[in-house]
């Protein structure tokens, strides 16, 4: 038989679950876990899973599978959920069609502004779209070694490949590149046949440019310099030259003092 303490504990979790499911129309187990933790509740994932199952058994909530993982929602909002999930998918695709490359966090923030769903659900929808082949992704790497996903529409693949080659050649030519608007303007003056091309035709904004550089950094084609403000990207070999030069200058300055 359950003790009164257990009953209370269970009731708290149940009320938390139903509160979050009312607020965010659908959530994953981890969504609820993080939301509860942010509100000051130290819960375990197993507990949340257990009470979600019990609520589901009583018919209060329902679940569906997205990318092989469970997503929970209130039974009464079943039809609304289906519609929302479809809308999110469409929203992601339209968002990706506006640019070339998008960071996962950018997509999630954008979707969160429009739809009230758990962040985990958006992750899963992205994964599902990737499995379907509608969107693709590759990895980017930040200067501190953090790996993240960069999503793009599969149909943009060829265009993206072209841009990657352009960016790579530009870095090789410049040796040191800051991901800013000036760099993007300088990026391509001529097309493949040596003809002047309108900059508007390039469809590459600073964010895309930066993301491509992150991708090249992941592949080891460029290096990101951590000791220069703004974390510029450079040709491999340039950073060590720059570092030794800076050391020399510093030592000279110290000697002069």
């Amino acid at each position: 038989m359950q003790s009164s303490k257990d009953v209370k504990f269970g009731d708290i979790i149940k009320s938390l679950i139903s509160k979050y499911l009312k607020e965010f129309c659908c959530c994953t187990v981890k969504d609820i876990f993080y939301l509860a933790r942010n509100s000051g509740y130290e819960l375990k994932l197993e507990h949340i899973r257990y009470y979600l199952e019990s609520l589901e058994a009583h018919g209060n909530i329902k679940r569906t599978k997205i990318a092989r993982k469970n997503v929970y929602y209130l039974t009464k909002s079943e039809e609304h959920i289906r519609f929302t999930l479809r809308q999110i998918e469409d929203q992601i695709v339209t968002m990706l069609s506006k640019g070339l490359l998008f960071h996962t966090a950018e997509i999630i923030n954008e979707i969160e502004r429009v739809f009230k769903v758990g962040r985990g659900v958006i992750h899963l929808i992205l994964q599902q779209l990737a499995f379907k082949g509608e969107i693709s992704y590759f990895f980017g790497l930040s200067y501190n070694g953090k790996k993240f996903r960069l999503y793009f529409l599969t149909e943009n693949k060829k265009e993206l490949e072209k841009q990657i080659i352009r960016v790579k050649n530009y870095v090789l030519f410049k040796r040191l590149v800051f991901p800013n608007e000036k760099a993007v303007e300088e990026l391509v003056f001529f097309d493949e046949n040596g003809v002047w091309k309108d900059l508007k035709m390039i469809h590459l904004d600073v964010q895309d440019f930066k993301n491509i550089l992150f991708y090249l950094s992941y592949l080891g084609e460029v290096n990101q310099i951590y000791f220069v403000q703004g974390y510029p990207f450079a040709v491999p070999g340039h950073a060590s030259q720059l570092e030794s030069l800076l050391k020399k200058i510093n030592s000279n300055l110290e000697d002069n003092k």
Partner: protein, 504 residues
């Protein structure tokens, strides 16, 4: 309608029969289901007695040729019963033979029925034919779909139906496949179009012949090539057309050090002009420096060798430095007085950047190929934190190199290799997960790099005190919550030879 069982006698001993089972295989390829057996022998069918019963010796040979898998499973090493001959015989392996073969080339055992007859007179060897999305298992090739949780070798299953080679033979019988030739080796078989060009070695000379003209004793190259390959190779290498090709380039490439360096150059990146820049993965900067020194020594040896044997200019790098990055570090070799990279190294670099395995390497001996693979492995190896295993990551445009590596590992019977395990939509990088110690032992690799040495010492189990490779990868596949663990549905590269379809 079948006759009454009481009237029939056992086909083996003549005792009154108790039931019908098995089938008879005739020399014209037809079969009849149901043979009377006594209570004693009916249980032994397929265990001690071969199933089917054969009309005569010719029927047995036909069966062996057409259904090698069934033959291996139900007939080999079992008591074979003939209808026309009452005397049962024990079917055994064909005698092992001893032709001298270059180790890099698998030997063709036989082709068609005539070849099979000849086989018993002539000799043996091994062949490895690996193909694209097919993986070698105990029962032949299987298409990569998903990691099996039960198969001990390299689990690969057809999700709907497990297929065998015998199925393909059935397809081959149809008139639409009449133009196909079946090349059978002691391990595997392949059905290809009779007019498809195959690269073979005949009397130490490389030749392109049609599949129907392949003869017993020919050495088949590790992989097949399509008809336009040579043309493509020349077009893809403009520097070879622009510059006069040194006549002894093949001789230079067959040098083991040069082959090693060619393998290493697969990780070359475009760096500062006049420098050779190699990307290397390691957590320990000292280890990279140690390896960098060894590599410099090798380059010195190569430059001496090239200068002695040819007129090609080849200065060795004067110094090197290491630059650290977030994922990779770079080994940067500088040449004296900042001269441009010597022409010989430029040639090697061009090959590497195009993602091709030089023809001279592909057609050289086992030792040279092994050195090439060693270089490739040593410079590419990295530890995957998520999967807790070593892997090599190559860009997808290097599919030829990947294919070559795959064939070599198959040839050396390295089983613990998993390709492109996850990220099905990450199109620019192909990850190959492997058990380093197994690769080093089976391929008999001489290790230069400390990291590889360390990985082998630790062996199966630990790197940085963590579980590695096989058990870990498998346990991840067992856990459905981990999600992305399916092998890509697309083949790693487009097959050069189209296989007969299994599901029409």
């Amino acid at each position: 309608m079948k006759a009454n069982i009481k009237d029939k006698k056992c086909i083996v001993c003549g005792e009154p029969a108790v039931g019908w089972t098995g089938y008879i295989f005739y020399s014209n390829g037809k079969r009849r289901v149901g043979i009377p057996f006594c209570g004693n022998h009916i249980r032994k069918l397929g265990v001690e007695i071969a199933n089917p019963i054969f009309e005569n010796q010719l029927a047995l040979e036909l069966f062996r040729e057409k259904h090698p898998d069934l033959y291996r499973r139900y007939v080999k090493d079992k008591k074979v019963i003939f209808l026309q001959k009452s005397q049962p015989v024990i079917e055994s392996h064909p005698p092992e033979l001893s032709i001298d073969v270059k180790p890099s080339f698998p030997t063709l055992i036989h082709k068609g029925r005539e070849r099979w007859k000849n086989q018993e007179k002539s000799e043996k060897i091994t062949i490895t034919v690996s193909l694209d999305s097919f993986v070698l298992t105990k029962t032949g090739f299987k298409k990569i779909r998903e990691l099996s949780l039960t198969d001990l070798v390299l689990g690969v299953k057809e999700p709907t139906k497990e297929f065998e080679w015998s199925d393909i033979i059935e397809v081959g019988k149809s008139p639409s496949f009449a133009s196909n030739v079946r090349i059978i080796t002691d391990k595997n078989e392949i059905t290809i179009d009779a007019n498809e060009s195959v690269r073979i070695v005949q009397q130490d000379k490389v030749a392109m012949v049609k599949a129907k003209d392949v003869a017993l004793g020919d050495l088949m190259e590790i992989h097949f090539l399509d008809k336009e390959f040579i043309k493509k190779e020349i077009i893809d290498k403009p520097h070879l057309i622009a510059q006069p090709k040194p006549s002894n380039l093949g001789q230079l490439f067959s040098n083991e050090n040069v082959a090693y360096l060619l393998g290493v150059f697969n990780n070359i990146v475009e760096g500062l002009p006049g420098n050779l820049t190699l990307k290397v993965w390691s957590t320990d900067i000292q280890e990279i420096k140690e390896y960098g020194e060894k590599l410099q020594e090798i380059m010195h040896q190569i430059s001496n060798y090239v200068c002695e044997s040819t007129d090609i200019e080849c200065n060795a790098p004067s110094s090197f430095r290491v630059e650290e990055g977030p994922r990779y570090s770079w080994l940067i070799y500088e040449f004296p007085d900042q001269i441009p990279i010597p022409p010989f190294f430029e040639i090697l670099k061009d090959y590497a950047l195009q993602g091709v395995v030089p023809f001279e390497i592909r057609t050289s001996g086992f030792k040279t190929i092994r050195e090439y693979i060693t270089g490739l492995l040593e410079v590419n190896i990295e530890f995957d934190e998520k999967w807790k295993t070593f892997r090599i990551a190559l860009p997808s445009y290097k599919s030829e190199v990947i294919r070559f590596l795959d064939n070599f590992l198959n040839f050396c019977q390295v089983h613990s290799v998993i390709k492109e395990v996850f990220t099905p939509n990450n199109p620019w990088e192909i990850n190959i997960y492997l058990d380093v110690s197994e690769v080093v032992k089976k391929c008999d690799i001489l290790v230069h790099r400390p990291l590889l040495e360390q990985a082998c010492d630790i062996g199966l189990g630990e790197y940085h005190k963590r579980e590695t490779l096989y058990p870990k990868v498998r346990s991840i596949t067992l856990n459905p919550s981990e999600g992305v663990c399916n092998i890509s549905f697309k083949p790693l590269w487009n097959p050069l030879i189209e296989w007969t379809t299994i599901h029409p």
